[in-house]
Amino acid sequence: MRILSNGWNMTLAAVLLIAGTMPARAASEADFKAAYAAAEAAEKEASALHNQWTTTEATLAAAKKSASAGNFDAALAAAKEAEALAKASIFQATSEKERWKNAVIR
């Protein structure tokens, strides 16, 4: 069964094509601030678990540096990366909470 008619398919393709070729909106300071706050919150959680990564810290610093230079595209990208790293470190700490016992020499 066809889900969409040919007309619908063409319209959808056209929309996607336009979206793909339109220049992305440049990141604003507000975009950066929101992303940075989210990254900082995640890193704070990692800190509470005593499981921060040096790479998260470095990426947060890079985000701030780019923002200070007015490069909010780079700052936003770095803040998002820092949040992902912080979340990965939280996942690591949580999953290791019991898993370490499997590695004990017996």
Partner: protein, 282 residues
């Protein structure tokens, strides 16, 4: 009748399960230490037990020959001399380090870290030295720099050959500290997802970049160490901080509870092996 029997059996099975689970979770340092030692002895059957304190030199003949030559004029000698002098030099109040330690601080390194029942925490030699300084009106030394390394080098030297003798008293707080150290040792951390055990249990003798990894058994006995990589001496604190950074984990504060407990656990694992510090490593 049948129902009562079944529920009786279920209760019995549950009781056995709970008992087994709690027995498995109860810290048993002596059993851990035996299993730890057996693991390394089995993994490296040609290495004499007391030789594990020599780290990578016990596992690699070429490195051992180089080390034996280096020991003719050991790179830690300056630190040792400095430590001896510092140890004997009175504080401004006229007292010395000897006044803070049993046996005047000579030949006691093998008893550190110990569990302080008053404080309810583990006390390392580095911490005890700084507490001694502060009690006598002196500023504490950095835990990762030369002065502390020199002092501990001298104290280790006076204990050379003495078997490591760490006690875990039958005190729930001591057992909890021991267990916390064990947890830290086996827990993976950092972006590289390494635990201390990843290198020093699973891979001793293997190379990580240019370095040959040391076995965890006896690893504390050689500290402090002169490392060519550092172009200088390093304390136990420096060693732990560096290990964490190398796995891309943010190091904890030196002498944090976790590091103190880790040192406690690892030192206990090496009970009976001789103190060989100060050591030298590539």
């Amino acid at each position: 009748m049948r129902v009562r029997l079944q529920s009786g059996l279920a209760a019995l099975a549950l009781a056995i399960f709970i008992q087994t689970a709690s027995a498995a979770d109860t810290p048993d340092p002596a059993a851990d230490a035996k299993a730890f030692r057996d693991y390394f002895v089995k993994k490296f059957p040609k290495v004499k037990l007391e030789d594990f304190v020599n780290g990578p030199y016990s596992l690699n003949e070429d490195m051992r020959r180089q080390w034996e030559e280096k020991e003719q004029f050991p790179p830690y000698e300056f630190a040792l001399e400095a430590g001896k002098e510092m140890f004997a030099t009175p504080f401004r109040n006229g007292k010395t380090y000897a006044d803070c330690f049993p046996n005047g601080g000579i030949g006691i390194r093998q008893n550190y870290p110990y569990f302080d029942e008053k404080e309810g925490k583990v006390v390392t030699l580095e911490l005890a030295l700084n507490r001694c300084r502060e009690a006598n009106g002196e500023a504490p030394y950095s835990y990762v720099k030369d002065e502390m390394a020199s002092l501990t080098a001298y104290m280790a030297f006076t204990s050379r050959g003495k078997p490591m003798d760490i006690k875990v008293p039958n005190d729930p707080r001591a057992l909890a500290a021991y267990e916390n150290g064990k947890r830290y040792f086996y827990t993976r951390r950092g972006q590289l997802n390494f635990s201390c055990a990843s290198c020093h249990v699973q891979s001793p003798g293997e190379r990580i970049r240019a370095e040959t990894l040391a076995p965890a058994l006896g690893i504390m006995n050689a500290l402090p160490i002169y490392r060519s990589e550092w172009s200088g001496m390093g304390t136990t604190s420096r060693r732990l901080v560096t290990c964490n950074s190398q796995t891309r984990a943010v190091p904890l504060d030196t002498q944090s509870d976790e590091y103190r407990d880790l040192e406690y656990f690892l030192s206990y694992m090496s009970n009976g092996l001789p103190i060989s510090g100060p050591g030298a490593r590539p």
